[in-house]
């Protein structure tokens, strides 16, 4: 919510510091002092602690400093001292350096279209490096955008072979992966190569329905609310850290097709939000949950 969509002359000098460490007194003081001494102005700062006594501390600072692109390495070296003192896991990013995305799709286009549209009007601050699909169906939808479309067929036998192909395609070209209704399981090597950088979207219900045809099950059960969950992909299927969720009301008049249609609308908005927050470094992962600084 706090991201510029219009880019100012100074956007190149906008940096972000993402920190996670054991909580103890003095962290904010040390970080803010470091930035002050470097001549940086804090534009936005968010903190969270799981417990002031012995918990874990999370921090995202957005700052502005002259000549950031030139000084990036120097700042990183300088910060390492503070980081060591507090046993920080940390990273520093440049707001102007766009993350490169690979979009994985199958046959359904609603999430893909949503992302492409937002990308074209400048709402998605990323480079879309490629679209990868196990089908050819969505190739025409991607063509007008001039983005490479790679068709990599997958079946049970060829899953690992396909993965090799995926990893080759993405090597040195992709910072994060968005599964925009990609209906295949992601193998372990990919998950490890892009840890906490693969975002998936799936339907959600109150209560949850396990197994095939979830919309049919939800219809059978007469749920009054359906939703969608965007999460990072982990080895445990659909159990990774939740980034965002949202819901829509439904009622007894909704047929299975209506539930699916309404589900599509929730999915594409939830996925777009989650991707945006990831691109803006607003999501920190803590175990199997997320801290989202909105």
């Amino acid at each position: 919510m706090n991201e510029a969509t219009d880019f100012q002359s100074t956007w190149a000098d906008r940096g972000r510091l993402l920190i996670s460490c054991p909580d103890r007194p003095g962290i904010v003081a040390a970080v803010s002092r470091f930035l002050y001494e470097q001549g940086a102005n804090i534009v936005q700062s968010d903190q969270h602690t799981t417990d002031p006594e012995g918990g874990r501390f999370f921090m995202r600072v957005e700052f502005q400093v002259d000549h950031l692109p030139d000084r990036e390495q120097e700042l990183k070296r300088a910060f390492q001292h503070t980081a060591d003192t507090f046993q920080m896991e940390w990273r520093m990013t440049l707001a102007a350096r766009k993350k490169r995305l690979a979009l994985f799709v199958s046959k359904e286009d609603h999430c893909l279209q949503e992302l492409l549209w937002r990308w074209r009007i400048g709402e998605l601050h990323a480079d879309i490096a490629m679209v990868i699909s196990n089908h050819r169906d969505l190739e025409p939808a991607v063509a007008p955008f001039g983005i490479p479309y790679h068709h990599v067929p997958v079946n049970k036998e060829t899953r690992l072979e396909a993965e090799v192909k995926h990893l080759e395609l993405m090597k040195d070209k992709v910072d994060a992966v968005v599964l925009a209704r990609y209906m295949q399981i992601i193998p372990s090597r990919t998950i490890q190569a892009y840890q906490n950088r693969i975002i998936n979207i799936h339907h959600s219900f109150l209560p949850a329905f396990v197994g095939a045809k979830p919309y049919h099950q939800a219809h059978e059960r007469g749920v009054k609310i359906i939703g969608a969950t965007a999460h990072y992909v982990t080895e445990e299927l659909d159990q990774g850290p939740i980034i965002e969720q949202d819901v829509q009301r439904v009622d007894h008049r909704c047929r299975v097709e209506d539930l699916k249609r309404i589900g599509r609308d929730v999915e594409r908005l939830v996925l777009a939000k989650a991707v945006n927050w990831h691109l803006n470094d607003q999501v920190l992962v803590h175990g199997n949950k997320t801290v989202v600084f909105r």
Copy 2:
């Protein structure tokens, strides 16, 4: 939503016809003709079919007819002919005849207070015949309302004994039961005696969490939405027909206590809605789901 909260001089003449039968042509024509010939004016009418070809048809008609209280039996007898023709399950109710409720509670008071407050200001068109609890804690909260409070202790050994006591207390005095955070399992005899007339409220999450301490589990998983479900009680625990659901947003800053607090707010509003719809005969049960004519 379409119920009068202020009672007009003619409220005594307001009736409702609830129908469910195999769908086929001519049902609405037959029902509306019957009412017209009886001098009744249709105030509100809702229909739903699961499938026009071979599905089940549901209908709720609210009508106004002079001298309804005197003519009730005559109308019911007269309608039986139409009902037989279409193999209807049906009932006719008088809007002015308040349903008698038993509220079951344990120690938490948020749902109880919500129902008592709405009842006192006239939003809950019911007689609250009694409050039954396995604890004495909420007796003082009920006292000012002049409603009998029955303390019936329950433990694993005494569950069936307690049920006998419950059924005695409610005999001929109670039309429907509301489990307003009653933390005991309802035994089969009670469920059968009050089929589709026992309303329960429980927390709901995306995804669902099975087992103990669900709010702790939801906190562990970092859910972004928590909700509540009001449903009719069936033999299968918490799996009965859903009447209403709603949700609230939460985030990483919420501690378990915050989730519980927010959960309470959702629960009491969802339960109050579900109870109101039940009292107004707006809920029809179809297998394990509901048709709610709002």
Copy 3:
């Protein structure tokens, strides 16, 4: 919500009867009897009365009858007798007969894209006859869909001249008009020619802000919620019958650009819903308000 998105073999035989008349006993009986005698099966029926005593009655019946396309004129003639008895305003439509839309746009594309995408995947049961714009900007966005794009420049002096052009373009080709962020006032002749058939979308706030730069005003005032309203266009600017509204939460961190971005998301979903309901004959107008049978 109750519309088929997949078309069955029998879709051609699906009809809709839309009625509005003074409320009095016997209307439903007469209508349902008429349909029954014509061999039609009621698939869905919704009614609403503003007041059972002296109010106005609204009804939408969706029915299925063999050979509807062939029997359309005969059915309409036959129904006129019933209609006269109850002083009905009414119309009968065929579900399979797609309404023809003209989309009016200016420079912003979010509503246009949303409608085009839904139309392409079959969610919008309409023919899009043309796009009309006072600018050339969105011509490339429309081109891939093969829909005629008419550029009709408008300024204060040429408003009526442009209207003549609009009316010529749409003559015999357009059943309804969607103002998908068209930033010009619609003149009277067009409003009268397409009464209750021109749908507009605009931002809405709590409270409302009159005058220029509403998002700036909302930002100044620190609103916590922003919304959008879809309504039929009447002579009184932005005061026509409301079809649908929705909102999103915002907070102090949102800059004007963020409010606009969030506003776009609300606008396109609200407009898409309103257009869909109009296409499915789910909206009846009553004075300056609507009855929406969802």
Copy 4:
């Protein structure tokens, strides 16, 4: 959302620092360094800037420090130096020191009941010093809580006389005022005496309706959403800084009574949230808007 509802042994040592000043580099560094040097641990910290270049900076820090009650004055003196450097408006509060509330009511009880119930179960961390009303109607509702109820009749002629009485009653006993559906205008002296400390709740609509009988106007206009706004009271009626807003969906079936009933539910929840945030020092006022650190 981040407030403890259960009080720990260390709650007495929990402090809050609220700051607003011109934005410039070094503020966070100075504040966090001050706290660190005082042996305080930051539990929660939120910042907001209206513009990093020449804007205004807002900060709320929640900290834990041993023996806070004893050290309060010393800490305040010590901080003044930092405050002066940055031209801060600031205050330091003790979380354990409950704010004292006066609740103003007229005849409607929904907001009063909501606040009393939350207060009793410990959700409202305040002392309710008194209830003041221009009517006697709600005296019985307050009696069981043992809170003084002052009946101060008000009419056009006696408005200023009544104000004198109000100010006398509240002198040295009240930190903040909640207008829980108090249907009288608050005179200037009271507004000035309790600047940004009088919270009002009122209905809100899309669009807004000015003048008498707003629910009737909303019904006439056929709105699809109704809401409520909690705001600080300023001299300009209902135009003060907005603290919170929320909405509920309504439709054509809602009569004026239904809109009012639904409006009550929104009002009481929105007011309870706003009061809670005020009590927890989560609301900072900036001109005519608020920064709410949730």
